[in-house]
């Protein structure tokens, strides 16, 4: 079983839609959760970072963590064509066997104008 599972998509939505991106993980030792955005032919860039269970908002983006279910989500409100990219979840814990940054496979999102 992979440590981190993510639906690869692709996902195509109309402009203005609400987008939901999800990841599950198997190792309960992971404590820090991130979402990276990767535009075509570029390196990934950090979008959001969360630690505790619950929601964290940043503009149109909301990151949600449910540690009891080992499930994290990223919601994008009022999606824009400029949001078209690959979104990768990532997680890490410091110490032990999980002190390395592990990524999901990424979800390719296309927002149609």
């Amino acid at each position: 079983q992979k440590e981190v599972e993510q639906d690869p998509g692709p996902l195509s939505v109309p402009e203005g839609a609400i987008v939901s991106l999800n990841c599950t993980y198997s190792n309960s030792a992971f404590q820090y959760f991130m979402w990276y955005r990767q535009y075509s032919r570029k390196g990934p860039e950090l979008l959001m970072y969360t630690y505790s269970s619950g929601n964290k908002e940043d503009g149109r983006f909301t990151a949600q963590v449910d540690k009891s279910s080992k499930y994290i989500s990223l919601f994008i409100r009022d999606s824009q064509p400029s949001d078209s990219a690959t979104y990768l979840c990532a997680m890490i814990n410091y110490g032990g066997a999980t002190n390395k940054l592990i990524f999901g496979t990424g979800t390719l999102l296309a927002v149609q104008p």
Binding site: E45, A90, Y94, L101
Partner: protein, 114 residues
């Protein structure tokens, strides 16, 4: 502030050749990583390092080697290149501070093995 610099940006290798992908960072990060990304896929961890002199294997280490003699540099060595190593390689670095987990990525090296 240059961040993470990878060289070369592009390379074509023949089967059986060897090469070193260079990665250097100027942010004094102690964690460094090498990932490969195949078309339409996510990032697979090849090797990582939590500090100078310390390296460890990731998910897909076979056919690669690394060293970390300084904080700044983390080269990735490919021995006996194979077509299966055709990929985009990303180097990344970060602090080990849980309050600042952001990993910074280089622009990638596109490698084709023919």
């Amino acid at each position: 502030n240059a961040g993470v610099t990878q060289t070369p940006k592009f390379r074509i290798l023949k089967i059986g050749q060897s090469m070193t992908l260079q990665c250097t960072q100027d942010m004094n990060h102690n964690y460094m990583y090498w990932y490969r990304q195949d078309p339409g896929m996510g990032l697979k961890l090849i090797y990582y390092s939590v500090g100078a002199g310390i390296t460890d294997k990731g998910e897909v280490p076979n056919g690669y080697n690394v060293s970390r003699s300084t904080t700044e540099d983390f080269p990735l060595r490919l021995e006996l290149a194979a077509p299966s190593q055709t990929s985009v390689y990303f180097c990344a670095s970060s602090y080990s501070d849980p309050r600042n987990t952001e990993a910074f990525f280089g622009q990638g090296t596109r490698l084709t093995v023919v």
